[in-house]
């Protein structure tokens, strides 16, 4: 296994979880322990076995295309930490175009 600590910085960035050196060390240790524990799965011979997509092997039900026009903006505003002029607000993103 590659050193989990270096991997962990990458993983933490993907998961967008901030951490300081102490928690990084601790989490690297713990995640490492978990990965060591699950390693035994790799030794299993799964040739010809399809991965499970759903425990009951059923198919997706389809919903009829009917719009329900309920303006929820007041609820959304109430729940949001920062909301003004009907928009969620986040620190400015420097990016041209969308």
């Amino acid at each position: 296994m590659p050193t989990l600590e270096t991997e962990l910085t990458k993983i933490a960035a993907l998961a967008c979880i901030g951490m300081n050196n102490d928690s990084a060390k601790l989490l690297a240790h713990d995640v490492g322990a978990i990965m060591d524990f699950v390693e035994q799965l790799r030794a299993v011979n799964t040739a010809g076995v399809a991965p499970m997509l759903h425990p009951l092997d059923l198919h997706q039900r389809l919903r009829s295309d009917e719009a329900v026009d309920e303006n929820q903006v007041s609820h959304l505003a109430e729940m949001a930490p920062l909301f003004a002029n009907e928009l969620y607000l986040v620190p400015k993103v420097i990016e041209a175009g969308n």
Binding site: L14, C16, L53, H54, L58, H59, Q60, R61, L62, R63, S64, D65, E66, A67, V68, D69, E70, N71, Q72, V73, H75, L76, M79, L82, A84, N85, E86, L87, Y88, L89, V90, P91, K92, V93, E95, A96, G97, N98
Partner: protein
């Protein structure tokens, strides 16, 4: 060194469903921010997605129209990344098993060469919300109305070799989607978005060069310009022995150039995995048969039919196929009026289209009802009004009047078609201008127009000039 440009395209077409892909919120354009965002769209804790039947049907229609494999079992996957316009922190999309597989679209380029563009796949996915950078001085505003709108992402193989081919493909695809009635194709509103993947390789080499992805191209013109710029940029780099960096770049119309986009799009591991809140989509042969039976005629077939009937020129055919609304209106008129088909087309292409443009309207928002226009075209065909006066009548229709015959009567637009009366008037004119008559008989052809002018004056412009011409020649002989 001769370079070959290789291009692959990804088009995101917003499907014209009433509700979103996984929730029942409406999809209308232009609503106040976050007024069409329900709890499922906002990704609240505990909410779950349920798939829109119509979106599936539309995807299948597209697949059938491009002769593609429709996968009888496909499934949704989560594309995981963080961005404020992506409420769940993942986009529900399709990755390993899209609903539509390999197909093709036949195009003909400006040079009249025909080609089959290979469509690798088309899959369903949900759209993200919108970031508004100018909404607030210190913050970026997020509007989630668009989040969850169904998209059909249509991907070609890298099989296009010029901007010309790219535009031909996009126009053909755009037309197809509109005629299938699955997308309104409004590029300004973002319902038809195109990303270009472009790379260069030395002529003759099979291996593709490093590609860059171009985004923010919302007109065919910008696409051409962006390709032109990027081609050169690649060429410069490669000829100077430098590497092209694989990245996403934005086209900026202001500077007519592309630049690196530095955020979510670059270097992200999306960790795709099947969405456990959704089950695999099963499509049966019966489903396909039903949808196939209800397919509208495809533009390619309509074009063939129109051309083979030999009534219309290429330009006229292209005009009729410029949008389903044009064709529908034509068919409607053709059914209601006994005017010849070509007269109808010319009228639509000329007077009608000019009036639409002036008023800022389109064939989708018809200002003049087909019934009224049909009557006008009948009157024209029957020589009840002259072509010139017909235009005047039309102008009145455009401002809201509706009774063609009443307008003709009121304005005195009725053509004088009474041959006897006309003959009398002609004889009088010839008698009044014996010198000109004699000169004409002696070969001065241009004097015919002198008499025509006189007669138009006499009849106050109401005589049919063609008729005048005919009768003059009879009496001036």
């Amino acid at each position: 060194m001769a370079w070959e440009t290789v291009i692959g395209l990804e088009v995101h077409a917003q499907l014209k469903t009433q509700s979103k892909l996984f929730s029942a919120a409406p999809t209308k354009y232009g609503a106040p921010p976050n007024s069409q965002t329900n709890f499922i769209d906002a990704g609240l804790p505990g909410v779950l997605p349920v798939l829109n039947q119509e979106a599936v049907r539309m995807a299948i229609k597209f697949g059938l129209a491009v002769d593609a494999e429709i996968n009888d079992l496909s499934f949704f996957e989560r594309k995981n990344y963080f961005y404020p316009d992506l409420p769940k922190g993942y986009q529900i999309s399709q990755f390993q098993r899209p609903i539509v597989g390999n197909g093709y679209l036949a195009i003909s380029t400006a040079a009249d060469l025909s080609k089959r563009v290979i469509i690798e796949r088309a899959h369903l996915e949900e759209d993200a919300g919108k970031s508004l950078h100018e909404a607030h001085p210190d913050y970026t505003g997020i509007d989630l109305n668009r989040a969850g709108t169904p998209l059909l992402e249509i991907v070609t193989t890298p099989c296009l070799f010029s901007a010309d081919e790219v535009v031909a493909y996009l126009k053909t695809l755009h037309q197809l989607l509109r005629f299938l009635d699955i997308c309104d194709g409004n590029m300004q509103e973002g319902s038809f978005r195109c990303d270009v993947n472009i790379s260069l390789r030395p002529y003759g080499r099979e291996q593709l060069g490093t590609r860059t992805e171009l985004k923010n191209l919302n007109s065919f013109r910008y696409i051409e310009k962006a390709i032109a710029y990027e081609q050169l940029r690649h060429q410069d780099l490669l000829e100077n022995g430098q590497d092209v960096i694989q990245e996403t770049r934005l086209y900026s119309p202001a500077s007519d150039s592309t630049h690196t986009l530095r955020n979510k799009e670059n270097e992200n591991d999306y960790r795709y995995f099947p969405d456990p809140d959704l089950l695999p989509i099963k499509i049966t042969a019966q489903d396909l048969a039903t949808i196939k039976a209800n397919m509208p005629p495809l533009p390619a077939h309509i074009k063939e039919r129109l051309l083979s009937a030999n009534t219309f020129s290429r330009e006229e055919t292209d005009f009729l196929l410029s949008s389903p609304a044009v064709l529908d209106f034509f068919d409607d008129l053709h059914g209601k009026s006994h005017a010849p088909a070509r007269t109808i087309v010319n009228w639509l292409r000329g007077t009608y289209l000019a009036a639409l443009n002036d008023a800022g309207l389109t064939f989708e928002t018809l200002p003049v009802a087909s019934t009224d226009l049909a009557i006008l075209l009948d009157r024209l065909t029957d020589h009840v009004v002259s072509a010139k006066n017909a235009k005047h009548v039309f102008a009145k229709l455009m401002i809201g009047e509706q009774d063609v015959d009443a307008i003709i009567a009121r304005e005195g637009y009725m053509q004088v078609n009474n041959d006897v009366l006309l003959e009398e008037t002609i004889k009088t004119a010839i008698a009044n201008y014996p010198q000109q008559a004699a000169d004409f008989r002696n070969g001065k052809e241009k004097l015919l127009s002198f008499f025509v002018g006189q007669l138009m004056k006499e009849t106050k412009g109401q005589a049919d000039p063609a008729q005048i011409n005919l009768l003059l020649r009879k009496f001036l002989v």
